[in-house]
């Protein structure tokens, strides 16, 4: 990574590029919300942000970024406030194209754990905050994009607890579990972009950031990664992207 930007800035810029115009995106607070706001300002003016607190079409107030999805700051200048349940029901109906997600642990099938570390749910080693809207985003959006720091302790062979399912155990197991739609398409990390083998649904390297080798990606991953037929190199964040992004978080509350 160069010194022109830090890890959070890299993640936000690469995540923003995944969003197309004329779509809707479910974004949580922090880097995902900044990424969505950046996309809307830069290349997707007709993108609509949906926030799980029950918010549609908000605008970012630089310097007043929300710390939760359910507060006034998250709904600043929104166009609709349908309520939490109804916001998710829009996703269930198929109205949300992309969902952004993070997670404490991610496995080779893209499943995410944000609930507990340790084997016994009722007496966990570490109790984490829980799913929030993550499980619903993973279940209901047309497509999910995970955005996360790339760390070996985070990318584990098997998560302690499947809070938010992606491809479950691969091989059609998502559909068999009753999840009829969606699934994780990409994992945007601080080292590159990962995807999934179309058949086995195991995670694979699809692109690396400039200066990052596939070996580095492997060394920071706790399970064996497949490789896409052709591995791209991402374009580094441009000055324009960085400038627009930084304007959204002048206090560097989430950009660090």
């Amino acid at each position: 990574m160069t010194e022109r930007f830090n890890a959070s800035e890299l993640l936000a810029v690469i995540a923003a590029r995944q969003l197309r115009d004329d779509t809707t995106v479910f974004a949580g607070v922090g880097v995902p919300l900044l990424a969505a706001a950046l996309a809307k300002r830069r290349h997707a003016p007709r993108l609509t942000m949906v926030i799980e607190g029950g918010i549609i079409g908000p605008e970012i107030a630089p310097g007043r970024l929300p710390v939760s999805t359910n507060e006034m700051r998250a709904g600043h200048r929104a166009t609709m406030l349908p309520g939490i349940t109804d916001a998710f029901l829009f996703a269930q109906r198929g109205f949300v194209d992309v969902g952004f997600m993070g997670g404490a642990q991610i496995d080779q099938y893209g499943n995410i754990n944000t609930s507990v570390l340790g084997a016994d749910y009722w007496h966990p080693k570490v109790r984490l905050p829980g799913t929030g809207g993550a499980n619903d985003i993973a279940s209901l959006c047309r497509e999910v994009i995970i955005v996360t720091a790339h760390e070996k302790r985070r990318f584990v062979e098997r998560v302690d607890f499947v809070t938010s399912p992606s491809w479950v155990r691969g091989d059609g197991s998502r559909r068999a579990a009753g999840l009829l739609f969606g699934g994780v398409s990409r994992v945007v990390t601080t080292l590159g972009i990962l995807g999934f083998d179309p058949d086995s649904k195991r995670m694979r390297i699809e692109a690396t950031h400039p200066g990052v080798s596939t070996d580095t990606v492997r060394q920071n991953t706790g399970f064996a990664l497949l490789e896409a037929p052709r591995i791209e190199t991402t374009e580094p964040p441009s000055d324009e992207e960085l400038e627009m992004l930084r304007a959204l978080d002048p206090e560097r509350r989430f950009l660090g």
Partner: protein, 323 residues
């Protein structure tokens, strides 16, 4: 603690309906005191809490429950904030049904959550955000379950005991999210008339569903409006008076949590609260309870601990964000 099985009382729609049938659905005046309103809460009750996280939390009502030293409660709330920590530390709650618990991103994973759940003192029953919303909605609709496409394929299924159902039309198997009929609903709203007709600005959260799902409905309100005002804007009413049991006039009744358009959440207070926990662990919450809950006899005395200047500042910030 830690029983993964659903309590049939939560989804028994027939018994829940009988309880509502047996109640007076009256257009009488509902105004009373916090003490009297909260006197309706019993040990062991399942409580549905309105608002979400630090937005429109019925803190005045919840503080009074702690002052009345209720025990063995279950709190059901989609996102649980530090009010849940207070209930854990006070020994008031044995189970929390929620999708997420902590305060917010900047303050990390709740150490109080970790302490009480990791030791097994309190059971955290986790449902997806939508699933918990649908549990309240099923209750509001008077049906035992609602079909949904969420939560399947996850380990949450086993935690709450989620079942599936086969759609009789297409033959597809979908999630059957069980109803949740709380014994008591606690709501904080922007305005209500003395008959209990309630209006909310901004985020509706799940309050309307929780009120309909519950047997007993207790409401605190920022403002009492005239019946004329209700009748002028009937399309703003979200809870009808006939299902409200008690109404209390409590300005700043969610503070230091937010109330849309009226006052912003006091992040600084959260930071001070978390810093004390970082220093002293769970004992810090005991100190907090003494200072903010058991000490000040009235809600007005409680607000004095924050001071008018701080409240005015949060009010100004709310207006900036929502005007």
């Amino acid at each position: 603690m830690g029983d993964p099985h659903l309590n049939p009382a939560e989804y028994d729609f027939i018994a829940a309906r009988r309880r509502v049938e047996a109640k007076a659905k009256s257009a009488a005046e509902k105004l009373t005191s916090l003490e009297d309103a909260v006197g309706r809460v019993k040990d062991g009750d399942q409580i549905g809490v309105g608002g979400c996280l630090f937005s429109r939390t019925p803190l005045a009502l919840m503080r009074e429950i702690l002052r009345q030293r209720r025990r063995g409660l279950t709190l059901a709330r989609n996102l649980t904030c530090n009010e849940g920590e207070l209930f854990m530390a006070a020994g008031a709650v044995s189970r929390v049904t929620t999708a997420w618990m902590s305060i917010g991103l900047p303050w990390g994973v709740s150490k109080i959550l970790r302490h009480y759940v990791e030791t097994g003192a309190v059971a955290l029953e986790e449902w997806s955000h939508l699933a918990l919303g649908l549990r309240f909605r099923a209750g509001a609709m008077g049906v035992p379950f609602l079909p949904a496409l969420t939560m399947l394929g996850s380990d949450l299924v086993g935690v709450g005991g989620l079942k599936t159902v086969q759609d009789p039309y297409t033959g597809e198997t979908v999630a059957a999210v069980p109803a949740l009929f709380p014994d008591v609903a606690l709501l904080h709203v922007h305005r209500a008339d003395r008959f209990g007709n309630c209006q909310i600005d901004g985020y509706p959260h799940m309050d309307a569903d929780i009120a309909r799902a519950a047997t007993t409905v207790l409401v605190s309100t920022e403002e009492i409006i005239s019946e004329e005002e209700t009748r002028r804007y009937p399309d703003r009413t979200v809870v009808p008076g006939f299902l409200v049991d008690a109404l209390v006039h409590v300005p700043f009744g969610s503070f230091p949590h937010e109330c849309y358009g009226l006052y912003e959440a006091d992040y600084d207070h959260f930071a001070e609260y978390c810093a004390a926990i970082d220093r002293s662990g769970p004992a810090a919450v005991g100190d907090y309870l003494e200072r903010y809950v058991y000490g000040p006899p009235t809600w007005s005395d409680y607000l004095d601990l924050f001071g008018g200047e701080r409240m005015a500042l949060q009010a100004k910030r709310a207006k900036e964000l929502t005007r």
